[in-house]
Structures are given as structure tokens and as C-alpha cells.
Symmetry: C2
Subunit: 886 residues, 2 copies
């Protein structure tokens, strides 16, 4: 028979999938003797059972009742007892943390009689009735869907009527009036009286938690965070402890280290005489945890002790919720703490130094998304900026954009690529989509653990919270701060690392690797098997790539070099040339420029291999647009009907028509052009070899490799290799120089992978061009697919993932594997890498590791990500580490 | 040690590769006791040795001399002997027959002294000096390159001077003058005297034969006929026998059966008092072989006896060369006779009936190219035609085209697709290219074995020879016949089956299968494993397919149905519709028309499966051309700026722009459209099922199958299958009918083949769309490649074969095999076929057989070819037959 309910004493951290994160944490803390209020957990299996049935089974109800009775015994209180009532909180807890997504109900068990019991027990009528008031509000809102605002209206009405400024001033009498109005509101909305039977309250609340698993916010969150839909949530029933029993009571959250910087120091906030939701909601601005040391030194020390135990126990930074009831500390939750990327890196590196975790664990502690965040832009320190306000630095990085006050508008405009900064008083889980599509988030209320802060950190979006000096006027879509009025669509910049709000757009600088970041990536380098190179086409890109740790250039495109203004006209002359001699003449003008390009790039990458791809795109891409030419010719004809310019334009137009194609992506390009116009590759090869010879003479160590694009047949490879090799040898012989220049190919059409054994006989290396390989394997023209069917396919899960972002393992991946096996079989010394965009995608990198590639090559900005991803898959493959949920 | 030379007694038919076809035939005839003049063969290995060295090795020379000495002993004559000279012919003979390609020298051994010996020996001075004259001419032309015409000029001069009309009238005295002039000519051109040493003559002649292997004509012939370049030719040295020793001598060629009709009756031609080249050159019109019965009854009977022995020995129709010297028959060559397609079929079927060959042998005796010829057009028997001339029906089939007199012009204009009829006095091996690119060939001279006739039959080009009534005027580019003047570029029609030359273009009819043709294909059907279906889109095509023996339709495209004028506007309305409802409304108008289409096709194919492919092309293909729309809108705006028509055109233009693509071939088409606009496939499925239901009710046996195009991912297949299947089931349930309608897919993108195991779970059948699969596997846009790099690739052998004609086994073929293995593994009952153009290509059919496909589907016209090709590969696989060279 299934067991649906576990007392905290029965559970443990190992049962996370069954008990959810919160339940497992409470059980584990109970197990190791930390102060946790008694309670029990209804499992995720029960949730799944509910989802299937649509109601809570009798069996589960019975088992819940049994555990409730045990809880009554343990606490010596009774559910609904008018003398000594047992009050509980009902809290959701999924196996994977989903902050703000699921619902919590406190003070459950209160009714018109029990509230009197609570009053007697605590000798505090205000407290008892405030608890009842909170309970009705929370229950009405969360369980029955009575609008939150309506409760707030009633509360505000009574506060105003009595001249109260804060909730704390509410007296028992006023609270009773509030409760009466709340009940009326409840009845109006639900058609029923507020339930007085605690059992009814309990099961309605449990059901509400189960239901909330499938509310739209939860679904969106799971989608955004790639959390499976079938995990289910557990429900925790915990004896209430009260942070609002007076000034010797408090509630708060704390991190064992600073989640923003990673500093090893207890960090957090608390509110005296408050219940948990007061902190999370960000309505009252809480105190820093340091102050607790003065206010309640003993309890503070107890908290420190618990924090230390938990961090060593879990071997990770912990995010804890606690309540202090009349001086006594209760732990209500512990979990691995969310952290900024910067903190994640520092904590991982520090913990390795402290001997708390291994290097292998460390590289699994920082996600590649976090590394991505660290590579975000910062405001140029040299820039003069106009800071108009300051708030809490809730999520690092800087962002500029147009001010938008409406969440839906932010979502819409952000989706189509507009840079917007969302400005709100605070955020709620409903705002998720708008937040996700904003460049940055600015709120005027809330602390570092407010909803906006937590979510923005998770998404890696710069965020400032609690910028209280800003006066929002949502109706007129403006805000005023220090005399400055900012209107909708004005541009502002926020710096989530400093908390500065700046007027206008400001210059940004690209991030650098330094300090712990570099230390961390060096740990990753120690552990990875895959090499990491960069795709770089200019000396600047090469320099950046090197500074980011690239071990060479995996793809240096040469065509962009021809698009520069001093070269394009010559290139165009070459294309309209009618004889090889004429072509050669124009190419000879380009040769010294090409040589300079290669010289500079090879110099930047001195000592590292640089794979130079010979000309790839169709020639018509270099000619002026057809419409433009036609117009120009029309104009020229009217004035100067026999000029050289006119003739040239006419030849360009003629050639452009000749070269125009139905499907240029799979047309006359790549090595096909190189074979039919051999002069082009001749010139490029000469330029490469000449550049290398010059560098070598100057004492450098150039390592150029020549890559032939779009090879699909061994005869293409053989023919071109012979030609290129001859030029290389002749040049080197002439210079009396010994230099190995390898010749290889892009594998980017299916046939190349399928006949890799043949092609590998003439190739020193393969580089998978997975962008094109994906296009041809799927028969998807990327330019067309992304505007037509691909979004539909992704939305409707015809495709799980965008195959241009993450490699399609079943199809394209199979070709990659086939190519590796056949290629290495024919040529055991064949070096194999990838230079498509997938080379910078962690999930794809994992695949390339397992497929046995030698290296990945990606955008310079993604090199650090690739270094980490490669290390992570190596570590996972070794399987030697403890896996800790981040 | 290598043996370079074989006496005829030492060789046999089995040594064809070594001795060449002629040498092997002479050896074999010697071996089985037929009358062959003594001689020996220098092997093809010697030729290869020569090609490598550039000269004839001493070893080969020595061995040749030894065999020459044996020949002298055998014949009791001596080389160069002034009393009893040995004369020989030197004839080439490659392992594969290359008619007219290689060179022959007769009467070798004659010199100023030996000619006197010959005169004494034969008591015939005229004969002796004519032989010497011929020898000098042939040697000068073939070995030394002295222009043929210059010899002819000298001969004509002497004939005119003496008032002779034919060569036979030349007297000994005149011949001596001719010889003197010939020698002068020889000296002028070569700078040397005509060689008097027979040994020098011999080795120069042998070397000339070796050299001729690589003359341009030979290379072209081999290229056109796909004969490997490294076979080499043998050289046969044969004692001369003389057909020109008087009226009891003759020379001729004969076939054991009629090579044009296949009739079982000795067939051939001969010339009395002539040497072999007189027949082949077509200068004198020879007599029919039947006349020999009267002229030389005994020799005729001997020839009949020999023919009968040879046919039974070789178990194939033989093409024999013979010479009668003073009443005695000598066989100079035998080989399998070239024949028309019609003859090939009849001979194969007859020989099976005669018990001479097995069915397996029979299907290997007719080539698929010959079947292709039989499927050529004929002149409509009901057509009224104006026959202006009659010639010999040298190669069957009818053709119309513009008259062209110049061979080079014919080649040029034919290459670019113009239909030309080449009209010449006669043809020579130099004319090969022009002949190959003509629709038909007409010559005014020559017999059925003249060059034009032999070559045209081989190429399957309609040809008439010996149309002597036509008076050609090449200078003015006209011909006159029976008072009609035909000028260059006038259109004529030739009927190579009847010999009729017709003025103007005439209606043609498609060929039918009947008589022996049908019998032959039924034999093929008995032997083949592969099924043969047709690609047919209309009831007419379905009918033809069935009459050609198709066992169903493997691809019925539905898009062409929408292009008909009554449907296109509705289709266009559907495409510009903005809601599913609107689309459905327009589609509902198309549905009854679609139903009718399917009804008719299914009816034609009653009892056979019909695979209907749902809509495949991109939608913009159905909209009017962009330019046309823009123009129309411009015009409409000027007159009627608010009409419904204008609005519609504007919507069409807008939609056309929305739907336009960079690479439509790999864009928004196929099942991608079907998934995003499900209404289209819904309508088509309904129409299919409704048509089947109606037919079933009417007592027919419809077998529709539904094929989804461009599937690349299992989710596409699953989604669409579910939708289609539901409609099928609902419709059938509604009709209370039990009918199996299978659902399958085209495999035409690499990913489908690579993930065939996944897709096969939801597919009842696969049909390889190898046209698109070739495009995507190579990344070749066919439309672009054929105009840019593909011709170059084929010419320069980057690609051995056009992958769109013959399947690329290494690449595309590998995908096919992968798909078969994975697909069958996941779904053992999966039916697999191919419906690309390759389905009608014999070489590809061979591959599909070995790849384990169930059927091929091709154009109706290629169904008979596919039936034969499938049988041939089955027979070859069984390996139970004797392989006879055709």
C-alpha cells in the first residue's frame, strides 16, 4: 500500500522528489536536530493522484487525518479547540524550487471560537484577531479566489477611518470590524459562509495547493525554467509559530553567504513582530540581519550556529526562512540559496579553497547561464552619467531602454525586440512574462528578497528594487525623482550592480575575466576534455577571444574582409571579369590586403592554430542590390550614356542576373565557386602563406590552417587540396621555410558526413558547420523557417527545441556521429571540431563531448561558457561527484 | 614471362579481354573448325604496354616475328617474297566492339617486287596492282595521315583522263600511273619514300592501331558508350584472302537473323569482286545476301551452315564478315550482332521458345536502352503525310526537325535543345557528335551496314540511309527530290521504321506494348523481385501506366489538380484567406473537384494501390507572378480604385510578399503547410475517402493510400497521421464501410532517413523522394546547379554521374540504406519504395534492388524499362546465367 504522508521525523533530504524541496529540508533539519516546528508532508505522489482523479482520495484524506492526530498529540493542542487550538501553516513545496509560484496559507485552524482560545492563550487579543484577519484574507484570496485588492480596500478603509498609518496600530476592536467585513466580502464572492470547520479549511487549502500546480503562473515558470510538468508539488502542514507575538518575535530570511557578492558572511533581513509574508511581499522595508545581533544577541548566535551546521551539512550556501517566537528560533525552510552569477563563482571558488567541495563539484555549482550573465555589459567607468535615483542593487548588469509602466506592453514590445525598462511599484508572479521580455526592471518598493529581485536574478536581468525616492504616477505614465520628470518611452539606464538609475543611454563596456572568475574558469579548464576555440574574423575579435581563453580560432571567415569599402569595388570588378586573366588581375590587388588581414590575426593568435576558411558565400552577395543597380543605370543613361561607369554598372547588372539563384543557400557557393574560379582560392592561399612566412621571419609562431567550405564529395576535396597544397609547398620552398599548414574542410552538407571516410583521406581536419548542416539535414532554410513555420513548431512542440540553438541529436547529431566514426576510421589522426553556433551552446557541447569531438569553436563571448560547459560534461561523465541541486 | 602474341589456334572466346573481340572470334572459329585464314593476335596487354612506353618493346617485336615466321610456314608464303609473297591484313579489335573507330590495313606486305610476285601468282596484273594501289592509299591515309581526299583526287583524275566510270575499269597500266602518283603524294606529305620493307610496314601499321586507341573519335565513342578507357585494343595479323580476285570472288557481311526485325533468316549484303572496305564505306550499293544463293549456290550453303553453327555455338545472333576467294568461303570475323531494339526483343523471345537460351539469359539480351527505343514515338497511322522520298529504314522510330546540313551546326543547335534532322551524303566517325545531338539522320548513300546506319541504331536515333533520289546541294544548303526543294531549316519528318522522308511535321502516336514486346516483358515480370509502379497524376496517365504494366501508382501528385483553370482562382482565394473558417469555405468548393479527380484515378487503377501525396509545393506557387500582380494593380488603380477585384489583387500581392522565400526549395512547403493550415489536408483526405467509398459502393476495389510529404520529424508524422486517420475512420464509420487506407510518408529530407526508426512507428509505408533527397543531401538546388557548376563538375569528373539521373550510391544511397534498416527495424511490415526520377533509371533500380526496397515508381513511359531493369538485377543476383556480351 502506498504511503502518502510523512512526518518530518520520517523524511530526509534524499526524499526530495517525494517530499518536495521544502518538505525534504524540514525533514532533514528535524533529522539533524535543528529547531523545526513539528509537522508532516503530503507527498508529490498525492498531488499526481489528485491531478489524475480531480479530487483528493479518501485514502489520502484518512492518512492526513492520522498524521494530524499525531501532530495534535506532539503539540498537545487540538485542531479547532476553543481553549488550546492547533494552528498550522499549509505550504506547497515542489521538488524543484519555484519561488512565488505556489501558495501558502498561514494560521489555518482559526475560527470564531478558536480565535478566542488563541487570545486567552497568548493573552493578546490584538494578535489573535490580527491572525484571524490574516487567515481569512489569505484563505479567501488563495483558496477561494476573492480579489486581494478588495480585502486591502476594507483594511485601508478601517485604517483611514481610525487614522492608523500602519497595520500595527490596528486594535482588537477594529480588527473585529475588519473581520466582519471580510466575512461579508467572502460570502458575497463565494456564496458561502467562511468555513468554521478547521477540517474543511484544511482540505480546501490542500486542494488549493494541488490545483496551483497547474495555474498559468506555475506553467509559465516551468516553461521558462525548463522544469518538467509532471513533478507535482508536495504540501507541508506545519504547526504555526508566530513572529508577530510582539517585539520579542520576528520573522526573516537569511543566506549563509551573501547571495549577491558571494561574501562569506550571514546575510539577510528580518521584520520584528511580523509574519512571513510581510517580508516576502516587500511592503514593510525590513532590517538587515546584522541588527539582530543587537536586538536579540542570543537568538542571533543560535541562527549563526544553525547556518553553519546547515552549510556544512548541505555543502552549499543555504537560503533559510526562520521565525522567532518570543525569543525562540524556529527554522521554517532551508534550501540551496539562489545567487547571482558573481556570487555563484565566488562561492564555488571559496568553497574549493575551504575544502568544503571538490573542483568537480565546483564546476557543477555555477551554471553556464550564470557565466553568461557575468559576461553582460557594464556601464563604462569613464562615462559621465547623470544618476537620478538610487535603489537596491537586486540583480547585476546594466541595461538601457525605453521606460514602460505597463507589464503587458513591456511583454509585447520586448518580444519584438524593443529594449524596454519595466518600471513598477513592485512585481507579482502575474508579471513574469513582462519581466522576461524587459532589458531591465526597476521597482520603487521591496527589498533584496522581494519578488522582483528574486525573479530578475534568476533570469539574469538587471534589476533595481526599493528605489523609494521615485514617485510613480502610473495613470499619467510618468515618474518624478529629485525634480526630474521621466515619461513613458524616455530612455533610462539602470545599473543592477550599483543600484544607480541614470537618465538616458550611457556607454557600456564589455565585461572582463578577472579574479575569482578567472580562477573558476581555470578550474574548469583543468577538468575539461574538449578544446575551446573561437570564431573570429578580425584582429579585434581574435584578441577578445584570446582574453576569454580561446585556444585558437576555429573559424576565421574571409568573406567579411571583402566587404570593406576599400575592397568591395575590386571584388566586384573581379566578379564581373570575363576571363581568368582579368579575374587574376583584380585578385592581385586584393592579395596584399588579404595578407595583411591574415598577418594581423595570426599575430594576435600567435602560437595558437587559426583555421581560415576560404571564400564561402555566393558571388552575387558581393554585387550591389539588383534594384539599386537598375535605378543607377536608369539615372546614368539620362546624363552620360556612354561612360565607363555606366558600362560597369551594366556589366554588374548582367552578372547579377546570371548569378541570381532560386535557392542560393544550396546553390553556387563554397568550394563550388573555388573549383570553377580557381584564381580566388589561389590568391587566398598565397596571402595566407605569405603572412605566415613574414610572421615566422619576425620570430612569431604562426599556425594557419586552411579550411575548404561546403565540400560534399571527395573529388572536390582532392582537387582543391592538390591545388592549395601545391601553392603552399611552392611558397614555403621558395622561402626556404619549414612550416606545417594543414588543410581540412567544413562538414556542412549531409553528404560530407555520409562519405566522411572518403573525404578524410584528403583532410587533416573536419570542422562541423552545424548551422548549414542543420539547414540541409532538416531541409529548413533558416531565413525562411524562422519567419514561417518554425515558431509554430516550437510553440506546439512539433520540435522540442530550436535546432539552430541546440543541436538536434537524433538527426543532425546522428550525421555528426557517422562523420566522426567514418572520418577517424579512414584517417586516425583526423582532428574534428565544430564551428557552428552550437559550439557555444552548453547542451550541444555536452553532445559534442560524447560524440568524441576534439574541440568546439564559438563566438568569443561564449568562450567562457563553452569552457565551463565542457568541464561540466567531463565531470558528469566521470560520475565521481555528488550532485547538488542549485 | 608474359606472352604477347597468340596464334588463332592458341586462343578462344574466353580470352576476349586479352585478344579483343575480333581476335577471340577468329580464334574460336578456328578452334571449332570453321574456315578462317591463318593468323595471330597481338594482345591488348601489348597495347597497354605500348601506351605506357610510347613505343613497341623489343620483346613484343620479337614475339611478333616468331609468330610471323610460323604463319609463313603455315601458308608456305614468305613476307616480301618476290615469287610467293605473304600478304596480311592488320586489323584492330578491342574487347568491346567499337565499329568504325579503329583502323584496318589490307594487303600489307606488298612492295614494288612483291606486287610482281602477286601478279605472277594470280595471273592477274590488274588485280595485283589494284591491291598495291589500295594498300598504299590505306597505309598512307591510316598510318601516315596523308589526306584521304588527295588519294581520291589522283584516282579521279586518272579515271576521268581515261573515261572510266568505275574503279573496276582501271587497267594495270593506269593503276601503275596511279601508284606512281600515290608514291609522289606519299613522299610530299611524309618526307619519306613509301616503305618497301614489309617488316617496316608491319610495325608501322601495328603502332598505328595502338595509337588509334586514343584518337579523338575513339575517345568520344568510349565516352558516349561508357566504355572504360583502359581496355586497350588487340591487333590481328591475318593472311589476306581476296574478294576481288574476279567474279567468283566476293566480300560481304551477314547476320544470322535480321538485325532490324529479328526475323529468323540469314540477312546481309555482299559485293562481287570487291574488298571489305568497299562494303563498309557504302560507296557501291551491295547486293542482298539472297542473291548469293543464285550466284554461288554452294558457297551460299556453306555460309548458311557456318551461320547455323555459329549461332548455336554462341547462342546469340551473329554478325559475320566473310570473303569468298575464287569460290571458297573464308570467315573474317564473327561477333554478337548489333540489332534494333525490336529485333533484340524478338530474337530473345524466339530463342527462349527455340530452347536456345533461358529466360534469365533472355532478359539480359535486351538492354534497357533498347526498351527505351521501342517506346519511341511513331507517325500516327491515320495521319495524311506527304512522302517526298524513300530510303533504307536503317534505325527505327520517327522524328521531326529542322533540316541541317552541317555536322557541327547540328551538334551546336541540338545541344541547346533544338530539334534538327542531319542530312548528309554519308557519315564518318568524325560526325559522331553531330549525329548524337540530332533527332534523326538522313543520308543519300550507303546501305544498312553503312556507318550512319550502325551508329544511329546504336544511339537509338531514327535514321534513313541510301535515299538516292535526293539530290544534295551542300553549298547552297538545299536538297531537291521529285521536284520539291527543301532548304536549310525547313521542317521534315523521317520515319526510320519505313524509310519514308516526309515534308513538314506530322502527328505522332505513342508506342504500345504488343506481341513479342509484351511477351518479353512478361518474362521479365516472372524474374523480378522489385514491384514496378508509376508516377501518375491524371486518369490518362493512370491508364497509360496500367497499359505499360504498372502495378499501381507510387506517386499521385495532387497539386497539379489545383492548377487547372477552374480551380486556380478558388485555390488563390483559399491562400489569401485570413481565418481557418474562410480557408475552409474556399476549400469546400474544391472538395467535390478533388473527389472527382481521385474517383477517376482510383477507377483507372482499380484493384491496384494508388499512393496519393497531399499538397506539397509552397503556397506562393499558386499565386500569380509578383510582377504581373503589380502591373494589374497599377492598371486597376487608374480606372476603378475601389473594386472588389482590386482589393483581391492587393491581398494576393500582400500574401505573395508574405509567402516569398529566400530558398523556397527548403522553405515553407510540404507537411509544414499541412500542419499550419490543417484545413487543406482535411479537405484532401475527405475527398480521397469519399471517392473510395463511392467506388466501393459501385462495386470497384479502390486502394488509396495517403502520403504525407516532406516529413522530417516523427512529431510531424504523428500529428498529421492522427488527424488524417481520424477523418478516415470517421468517414468510413459513417458509411459503415470496411476499407484499409494506409498512411505513409515521402522520405525526402536527410533527417527523415536518419530518424526512420522513429517515423516508421507512425508510417505504413515509406516512399523515397530521391529528387529532393539528392538536393538536400548534396545541398544542391537542382534549378541552380544545372545552370552553374553541375555541367562543369560532370565534364571534369568531379562527379562521375549526374546525381539527379543516377542515384549517388555513396551519399544519398547510404541514407536510403540507413532509412531501410532503421525503418524496418522499428516496423517490420513497413513497405518501402521510391518515387523519384531515379525509379526509372536502370542503374538506380539495380541499387534499389540491392537496398531491399519493395518497389520502384517511375514515369509511365519508363515502366517497361523498370520492369526489365528489375528483372536484370534479379537475374544477375541469382548469378545462375551465362553472361553474354551484347
Amino acid at each position: 500500500m502506498a504511503k502518502w504522508v510523512y512526518d518530518f521525523e520520517e523524511g530526509s533530504e534524499q526524499m526530495r522528489n517525494l517530499l518536495g524541496g521544502k518538505g525534504a529540508g524540514l525533514s532533514e533539519m528535524t533529522r539533524i536536530g535543528l529547531p523545526v516546528p513539528p509537522g508532516f508532508t503530503i507527498t508529490t505522489e498525492a498531488c499526481k493522484d489528485y491531478q489524475k482523479r480531480g479530487y483528493i482520495s479518501e485514502e489520502i484524506k484518512q492518512e492526513t487525518l492520522e498524521h494530524l492526530r499525531k501532530l495534535e498529540e506532539k503539540t498537545a493542542k487540538k485542531f479547532g479547540d476553543p481553549e488550546n487550538p492547533l494552528l498550522v501553516s499549509v505550504r506547497s513545496g515542489a521538488p524543484v524550487s519555484m519561488p512565488g509560484m505556489m501558495d501558502t496559507i498561514l494560521n489555518l485552524g482559526l475560527n470564531d471560537e478558536a480565535v478566542e482560545g488563541l487570545k486567552k492563550l497568548t493573552q493578546n487579543g490584538r494578535f489573535a484577531y490580527d491572525s484571524y484577519r490574516r487567515f481569512i484574507q489569505m484563505f479567501g484570496d488563495v483558496v477561494m479566489g476573492v480579489p486581494h485588492e478588495e480585502f486591502e480596500k476594507i483594511l485601508s478603509y478601517h485604517k483611514e477611518k481610525n487614522g492608523f498609518k500602519s497595520d500595527v496600530e490596528l486594535t482588537e476592536e477594529v480588527l473585529k470590524e475588519v473581520i466582519a467585513d471580510y466575512k461579508k466580502l467572502y460570502r458575497e464572492h463565494t456564496g458561502k459562509d467562511f468555513p468554521q470547520d478547521p477540517m474543511e479549511q484544511l482540505f480546501l487549502a490542500i486542494e488549493a495547493v494541488f490545483k496551483s500546480w497547474n495555474n498559468p503562473r506555475a506553467i509559465t515558470y516551468r516553461m521558462l525554467n525548463k522544469i518538467p510538468d509532471d513533478l507535482g508539488t508536495a504540501v507541508n502542514i506545519v504547526m504555526m509559530v508566530f513572529g508577530n507575538m510582539g517585539n520579542d518575535s520576528a520573522t526573516g530570511v537569511a543566506f549563509t553567504r551573501n547571495p549577491s557578492t558571494g561574501e562569506k558572511k550571514l546575510y539577510g533581513e528580518y521584520l520584528v513582530n511580523a509574519q512571513g509574508e510581510d517580508v516576502v511581499a516587500g511592503i514593510r522595508t525590513p532590517k538587515q540581519i546584522d541588527e539582530l545581533k543587537n536586538e536579540m544577541p542570543e537568538t542571533y548566535n543560535e541562527l549563526l550556529r544553525v547556518a553553519n551546521i546547515l552549510e556544512h551539512h548541505y555543502r552549499d550556501m543555504q537560503d533559510m526562512e526562520f521565525t522567532i517566537e518570543r525569543g525562540k528560533l524556529y527554522m521554517l525552510q532551508t534550501r540551496s540559496g539562489k545567487r547571482t552569477a558573481r556570487a555563484a563563482v565566488k562561492i564555488a571558488v571559496d568553497m574549493v579553497k575551504e575544502g568544503l567541495i571538490t573542483k568537480e563539484e565546483a564546476v557543477l555549482r555555477v551554471s553556464t547561464e550564470q557565466i553568461d550573465q557575468l559576461l553582460h555589459k557594464m556601464i563604462d567607468p569613464k562615462a559621465e552619467v547623470k544618476v537620478i535615483a538610487k535603489g537596491l542593487p537586486a540583480s547585476p548588469g546594466a541595461a538601457s531602454g525605453k521606460v514602460v509602466f505597463d507589464v503587458k506592453e513591456a511583454a509585447q514590445r520586448g518580444k519584438i525586440g524593443e529594449a524596454v525598462i519595466l518600471v513598477r511599484p513592485e512585481t507579482t508572479p502575474e508579471d513574469l512574462e513582462g519581466m522576461a521580455h524587459s532589458q531591465g526592471i526597476l521597482t520603487t518598493r521591496g527589498g533584496m528578497t522581494a519578488h522582483a529581485a528574486v525573479v530578475a536574478r534568476g533570469m539574469g536581468i538587471p534589476c533595481i528594487v526599493g528605489a523609494e525616492s521615485i514617485k510613480l504616477d502610473l495613470e499619467n505614465k510618468t515618474f518624478v525623482v529629485n525634480g526630474v520628470t521621466v515619461r513613458e518611452n524616455d530612455i533610462i539606464t539602470i545599473d543592477g550592480t550599483t543600484g544607480n538609475v541614470i537618465l538616458g543611454e550611457v556607454p557600456m563596456v564589455e565585461p572582463e575575466l578577472s579574479g575569482e572568475f578567472e580562477e573558476f574558469l581555470k578550474i574548469a579548464d583543468e577538468l575539461r576534455k574538449l578544446g575551446v576555440k573561437a570564431n573570429a574574423n578580425t584582429p579585434e575579435e581574435a584578441r577578445r577571444a584570446r582574453s576569454y581563453g580561446a585556444e585558437g580560432i576555429g573559424l576565421c571567415r574571409t568573406e567579411r574582409m571583402f566587404l570593406q569599402p576599400d575592397r568591395l569595388p575590386v571584388m566586384q570588378d573581379m566578379i564581373i571579369a570575363e576571363t581568368p586573366e582579368e579575374r587574376r588581375e583584380h585578385l592581385s590587388k586584393l592579395e596584399p590586403l588579404q595578407k595583411k588581414d591574415f598577418y594581423e590575426i595570426l599575430k594576435e593568435m600567435d602560437g595558437f592554430p587559426v583555421i581560415i576558411r576560404l571564400l564561402d558565400p555566393p558571388l552575387h552577395e558581393f554585387l550591389p542590390q539588383r534594384e539599386r543597380l537598375e535605378k543607377e543605370i536608369e539615372e546614368l543613361r539620362q546624363t552620360d550614356f556612354d561612360s565607363e561607369l555606366l558600362k560597369k554598372k551594366e556589366r554588374q547588372l548582367k552578372r547579377s542576373k546570371e548569378l541570381s539563384e532560386f535557392n542560393p543557400m544550396i546553390g553556387f557557393r563554397g568550394c563550388r565557386v573555388g573549383i570553377i574560379y580557381p584564381e580566388i582560392y589561389e590568391m587566398q592561399t598565397q596571402a595566407i602563406v605569405d603572412a605566415a612566412i613574414q610572421l615566422k621571419k619576425e620570430g612569431f609562431n604562426p599556425k594557419p590552417k586552411i579550411m575548404l567550405p561546403l565540400i560534399g564529395h571527395v573529388n572536390e576535396m582532392r582537387t582543391l587540396r592538390e591545388k592549395v597544397e601545391k601553392i603552399v609547398k611552392d611558397k614555403l620552398n621558395e622561402a626556404g621555410m619549414n612550416l606545417k599548414i594543414e588543410i581540412g574542410t567544413m562538414v556542412e552538407v549531409p553528404r560530407a558526413a555520409l562519405t566522411a571516410d572518403q573525404i578524410a583521406q584528403y583532410a587533416d581536419f573536419f570542422s562541423y558547420g552545424t548551422n548549414d548542416l542543420t539547414q540541409t539535414t532538416f531541409a529548413y532554410s533558416r531565413d525562411d523557417a524562422e519567419g514561417t513555420f518554425l515558431p509554430y513548431y516550437l510553440e506546439h512542440k512539433i520540435l522540442e527545441k530550436d535546432p539552430f540553438m541546440t543541436i538536434d541529436r537524433d538527426g543532425v547529431g546522428k550525421l555528426v556521429r557517422i562523420g566522426v566514426v567514418l572520418g577517424r576510421h579512414a584517417n586516425p589522426s583526423l582532428e574534428i571540431g565544430v564551428c557552428g553556433e552550437h559550439g557555444g551552446d552548453p547542451e550541444s557541447i555536452e553532445f559534442f563531448h560524447y560524440a568524441g569531438l576534439d574541440y568546439v569553436s564559438c563566438s568569443p563571448f561564449r568562450v567562457p561558457i563553452a569552457r565551463l560547459a565542457a568541464a561540466q560534461v567531463s565531470v558528469k561523465e566521470k560520475g565521481k561527484t555528488v550532485f547538488v541541486d542549485k
